[in-house]
Symmetry: C6
Amino acid sequence: MSDYVPTGIPGVDEILGGVGIPKGHTILISGGPGSGKTTFAIQFLYKGATEHDEPGLYVTLDEDPEDIKKSMSKFGWDLDKLEGEKRLIFINVSPVRVAPSEKMGLIQLGMKEFKLIKLLQAIRTGIEEVQAKRVVIDPVTIFTLQYPDEIERIYAIRDLVRDFRRTGCTNLLISELRGTGLEREHQFEEYLAQGVILLRTLVTGDKVTRMFQVEKMRGLDVDIQPRPYNITSSGIEVYPTLTVFK
Amino acid sequence: MSDYVPTGIPGVDEILGGVGIPKGHTILISGGPGSGKTTFAIQFLYKGATEHDEPGLYVTLDEDPEDIKKSMSKFGWDLDKLEGEKRLIFINVSPVRVAPSEKMGLIQLGMKEFKLIKLLQAIRTGIEEVQAKRVVIDPVTIFTLQYPDEIERIYAIRDLVRDFRRTGCTNLLISELRGTGLEREHQFEEYLAQGVILLRTLVTGDKVTRMFQVEKMRGLDVDIQPRPYNITSSGIEVYPTLTVFK
Amino acid sequence: MSDYVPTGIPGVDEILGGVGIPKGHTILISGGPGSGKTTFAIQFLYKGATEHDEPGLYVTLDEDPEDIKKSMSKFGWDLDKLEGEKRLIFINVSPVRVAPSEKMGLIQLGMKEFKLIKLLQAIRTGIEEVQAKRVVIDPVTIFTLQYPDEIERIYAIRDLVRDFRRTGCTNLLISELRGTGLEREHQFEEYLAQGVILLRTLVTGDKVTRMFQVEKMRGLDVDIQPRPYNITSSGIEVYPTLTVFK
Amino acid sequence: MSDYVPTGIPGVDEILGGVGIPKGHTILISGGPGSGKTTFAIQFLYKGATEHDEPGLYVTLDEDPEDIKKSMSKFGWDLDKLEGEKRLIFINVSPVRVAPSEKMGLIQLGMKEFKLIKLLQAIRTGIEEVQAKRVVIDPVTIFTLQYPDEIERIYAIRDLVRDFRRTGCTNLLISELRGTGLEREHQFEEYLAQGVILLRTLVTGDKVTRMFQVEKMRGLDVDIQPRPYNITSSGIEVYPTLTVFK
Amino acid sequence: MSDYVPTGIPGVDEILGGVGIPKGHTILISGGPGSGKTTFAIQFLYKGATEHDEPGLYVTLDEDPEDIKKSMSKFGWDLDKLEGEKRLIFINVSPVRVAPSEKMGLIQLGMKEFKLIKLLQAIRTGIEEVQAKRVVIDPVTIFTLQYPDEIERIYAIRDLVRDFRRTGCTNLLISELRGTGLEREHQFEEYLAQGVILLRTLVTGDKVTRMFQVEKMRGLDVDIQPRPYNITSSGIEVYPTLTVFK
Amino acid sequence: MSDYVPTGIPGVDEILGGVGIPKGHTILISGGPGSGKTTFAIQFLYKGATEHDEPGLYVTLDEDPEDIKKSMSKFGWDLDKLEGEKRLIFINVSPVRVAPSEKMGLIQLGMKEFKLIKLLQAIRTGIEEVQAKRVVIDPVTIFTLQYPDEIERIYAIRDLVRDFRRTGCTNLLISELRGTGLEREHQFEEYLAQGVILLRTLVTGDKVTRMFQVEKMRGLDVDIQPRPYNITSSGIEVYPTLTVFK
């Protein structure tokens, strides 16, 4: 049994030492809006389920699973079929406030407590149901925002990462990048995760450039150089031999 | 029935994969003062009502509908006529403090509670009245400022976006961009909306350049490169084959 | 009766579509110290009173009217004469703490409540007294500083702008620009006003350059390019066909 | 009687329209540490007392008058003599905590309330004592720091400026510049004063350049271009026909 | 007995005056995620234990010792063997919340008090157990975050450094660098430690460059120029004769 | 008796008008970690004691005197000998928490009140003991951090500077520079001290450059241009005729 989990995403495994993500590790995928974070994560689960016999669990803290499935259908991925075959499972743990029977779905806004224990139990249940080997939490930002105190936030993320380690699954935490520039403040999640992949979208006046970069990958020799990538009709595609600005 | 809603704005649909905005999605239109955000939104509703048989609802949180109609008349759009034909409806949900009978309209200033429930009910009523298929909220900033707590603000916007999803309408949320530079902090609305279009006005010493950019568009292959645009005598015009700085 | 109010300031009306400011609109004039904001405003009132039969009201929140009149006399504008002919009126609504009979005018400092109602009543009285068609508030910053809470501040300015709209007057709100660089944060007043004119003074090491820019002008096709301007012996002069850095 | 007060500082009056500071105005002199602010102020008083028959008052809020006199002696200015002749007077209104009889002058530190009324009375007394026509407050920063609330601070400075206006004296307020770069935030004092002169010290890696700039001067046509200056053996010297970086 | 402790890391001792770290000093190793901080620290202990007869103590405040050992095995370092021979000891003082008997290790999140006294006692016990001469704390950030008050934080770190001094051990404190740019704010730890080594990862658009820099080294003549480094299959390798951008 | 105190540090007195620091003045020495601040201060005291018959007092607020003496020994300065001859005295006023009899010196951390009065008394005692003419406080940062309120902090530093003035000694206050860039915020200490010397370490990608700069020196004509400096085997050496970037 290999110690590495191939992502199956074109170009990525070449950058990850030719092998993929170290098995059981928790990797942070950080990018701006429109950078393809969700596409990357779904692609990782899809490839796992269809090519590597590794069922996947997708935990959404924000968006409706049906919306995700629908917008991913343009890549030709039949996620409903995978779900039917118990090779993929979506869990929606985003707080719900709507009364589904109400005609237009009008909602009463107010603060809702995020149930962490419920999140962890849902993950456990989901993993057991499909014998998941790959897990995605999208976005982890909703989770960390619960902790205004920095030291508590660090402990919470660290405990989450530790808990994941025990499941034996290989995991992606999707994180939202705040700044758009090259110079930025590191987020503490980058220190707590075992790997960090950045999906950046640099705007330089007349041009937008997508830039894939492995910032950190514990236990693996990786190519740390930034590489161009695209979102094509078949998903994310990274070009491991090109440089960003030719 | 098509899955996409053409904006009808010259150049924009070409950039949006040749088809327009995915039907039922909620798109953030973010720009600075004078960038043409309101023009873009009205043009979207006008084209929908006159060319695609999609009635529109314009929810204003700030400006008087009469003022908007008047300043839009220079583009040759007869909005009063559309309203008369029930193909367009304006709803003013901005808090009102004036006593209309008072001679000069002097007002007593003080904090007014923004009634969110009233906003949602007004939207529902407006949609029903003209069978609206396109909705605009201008500006959503007034709405988000109600929530000083970040996590509450995220939940509120997310719930608003979800609620919109149920109406089947295609929606624009108009948002005010704070910084003027290319490097900036992403706003959480950019993550919550299903699409983000930026209308920027870059000032580079001796020149002002208008720059249109699709930052994000779920479920659609789009051109993410920045493109020049103008506000002409017939409204917004984007040039999908030009680059910003030639 | 025309829908536009010519400013009469050399070069400005050319930039404003050849016609001037849309009648009844409220325009923000924003600039740094020494940029000529007050000169611009007085020139606008002076031209209105002497050339367009539009009496003016100047509301000062900060400086003494006598000081303003004196420093404006170098441009050859006889403001006392205009006041005598009821074609111009100055109202000083800045909080006063001095006991005028006291010998050297020593003052007792302490926090004074700014009476907004008094401001609005003063404006109403002033407009009626000279049948004013043009109004200036200088500076609006003193007004907005009263509201430390952002949402209250937005409501207050918005209500002020709305109230102005009812008077039928064309108005200038003088605002103080904080930063000196080209990149900056937009102020919420820029969104609330119907037009925004920037008077900037860029310092580039060995040279100071004055730069006039119409950032926004609702209901009007304007030249948004930055243009050089000067403060000459006859007031502000903008050069609508030159670029800032030749 | 002229309406202008010549500074007598080489190069400065040329920049100030060939005449000097408008009589009775209050001018902000803003500069970093070592930029020569105090030298500028003393030189202004010295020239007034010795060449224009205008006695001067120097109000120090920070440094000991003896120390100032001593460090100014290197420019050949005999300030003690002027004081003896009642053509110059120093007033020390900095809070004192020392017991002068105590051997080594050890002090008990603790918060001391700054007595503003005492400041104003001291100024009045000082002006009367030498019939001062020129007044300096150095540094005004100590004064403004008393007011943590921004609106109170603005009122306090404004009241101080107004009070000065009544004395008929021409005044310099010495202010400490915080940032070292060309781009900076304007301070509210710059709006409240009738003139602003900047004494900057730009550090560009291998070179320090002193830059004199009149940012604002109400009621006067001035040269707003930055000009090089030096602190020579006879005081400040500005070069009105040179550019900063040749 | 030498006064210096060779790090044994290729290139580093050359930069450290040819001798290494002054014996008994506490050195801050500061770097971003993926910069090789932990690799550097383990390499320092490994070389000490295997080549200089100096047993080592590794205090982890964050990560599980087993995870560290596993990810370091790729460099060919058999840390388990060293532990068995009492030449190396790992102490895990990170707060633990899991119930090890529970099936999936689900945790109850909540704030845990960090026991400083326990940390110090653990260090003392660890040093005694293997007669350690080299100590690493990774990361010290977890420790400093306990003290929100800046002056308390400074005292705490200072006391920790002092306490270390008494043990006679040579110590590395691993610290997380927040910003990614060359310009940054110094952290107070850099003043309190006796030496500071920076491991930076500069991203310049199309290229990532690793940069090793000795910022400070008390009591030693060092090369302060930045030098390129790499993480090779045998650990950190610094190139003391190359410049970063050739 | 001269009015100036030669520093004896190669190159520095040339820059200081050929004479040195004005006698009795208090000078701020500000620099980053590893910039040689302590070396500069000790060198100043050493030269005074050995070449100018001016005994020195070194007040440490942070580091142990023994550690300082040891790390300074590499420059060939026998500080113990000077102490024995009563030409130099070290006073350690840093708060102590250790129980010296305890085996490993484990400490109980907690907030300690900094006794200012004790600091002043210690300084007085120290000056008397060796008849000190030169005094160093290292670092003054520990002192200023005691005062979170800005106005209190200014008063405290000002009082400290005044108190020093009465002793007749020439003094150095060592201060920690926070930012690493050329553009920075001035610290209030720079205004309160009578002189300011900056020891900067500029990092420009591939090169570290040490830059000595006299920002301010009351009562003295100085060279304000930045000059390169080095820490050599005999201490600080400034090159008064070279420019930083040749």
